[in-house]
């Protein structure tokens, strides 16, 4: 899993599947308000694509695509987007997460503002869930020894 495996079938299938999974996760996110799905499921599928990279190639490949600093930033960014989607309506006299007050900023009236609000919330959930799931996986597979893993180069080493 963290070592490099030399298997052409697994690598080729993973190389084909990873972009499909990521596009599907964005589809699940975008259609979250009219069909089953939403930010949480889309984020899980997006995280599963990075976990597939780590399993099929090695840990360094997944970390090269999604840096550990980027994971930390995305964890906070998702919560940030969610929180400010709720806080901004407070400035216009609404309640917390009162999406209709977004119509003061965004065009399209109150009905479209509710769509925008749902999209922002789900975007925050998607980013946060994706980052947290990948972070949990990296913590589990490296047994929490991130510093010594980060200190070396990025091509498929692991000392056990």
């Amino acid at each position: 899993m963290v070592r490099d495996v030399e298997d052409v079938i697994i690598k080729t299938i993973a190389r084909i599947m990873v972009p499909i999974m990521q596009v599907y996760s964005l589809y699940v996110y975008v259609h979250g308000h009219i069909s089953p799905g939403g930010g949480f499921q889309g984020g899980c599928i997006m995280a599963a694509s990075f976990i597939l990279l780590a399993v099929a190639f090695n840990l360094g490949e997944a970390k090269r695509r999604l840096k550990e600093k980027a994971i930390a930033v995305f964890c906070s960014l998702g919560v940030f987007i969610y929180a400010w989607t709720g806080v901004v309506p407070l400035f216009f006299g609404g309640n917390f997460l009162d999406y209709s007050k977004w119509s003061h900023i965004l065009p399209g009236g109150e009905v479209m503002a509710r769509y925008y609000g749902m999209a922002f919330i789900e975007l925050g959930v998607q980013i946060a869930v994706m980052a947290v799931m990948v972070s949990i996986f990296l913590d589990l597979v490296t047994a929490g020894r991130h510093e010594e893993v980060l200190g070396k180069d990025d091509d498929g080493f692991y000392s056990r």
Binding site: M1, P36, F40, Q41, C44, A48, V55, M133, I136, L140
Partner: protein, 81 residues
């Protein structure tokens, strides 16, 4: 909601859950737990809770299996008890 199909899927879910507890190889236990999660997903789809089923398929059968694999990677494959 078809009662017979519901019963059959529930029976498979119980069988996979019980054998996941009983099997000695932890990797087989993980795969059986994933299969249990998939059968729960089928049950929820069949009962009409599609959103819950989707969450179960994404989290239960997808990500949590990878988490168990990652945890198993740092321990032994055979169980002691």
């Amino acid at each position: 909601m078809i009662q017979e199909l519901n019963f059959i899927i529930l029976l498979f879910a119980v069988i996979t859950a019980f054998s996941a507890l009983k099997v000695k190889d932890l990797l087989s236990s993980i795969v059986l737990l994933s299969a249990f999660s998939f059968f729960m997903c089928l049950i929820w789809t069949e009962m009409g809770a599609v959103d819950v089923a989707f969450t179960e398929a994404a989290v239960g059968a997808g990500v949590s299996t990878a988490f168990f694999m990652a945890a198993l990677y740092n321990t032994t494959r055979r169980t002691k008890d």
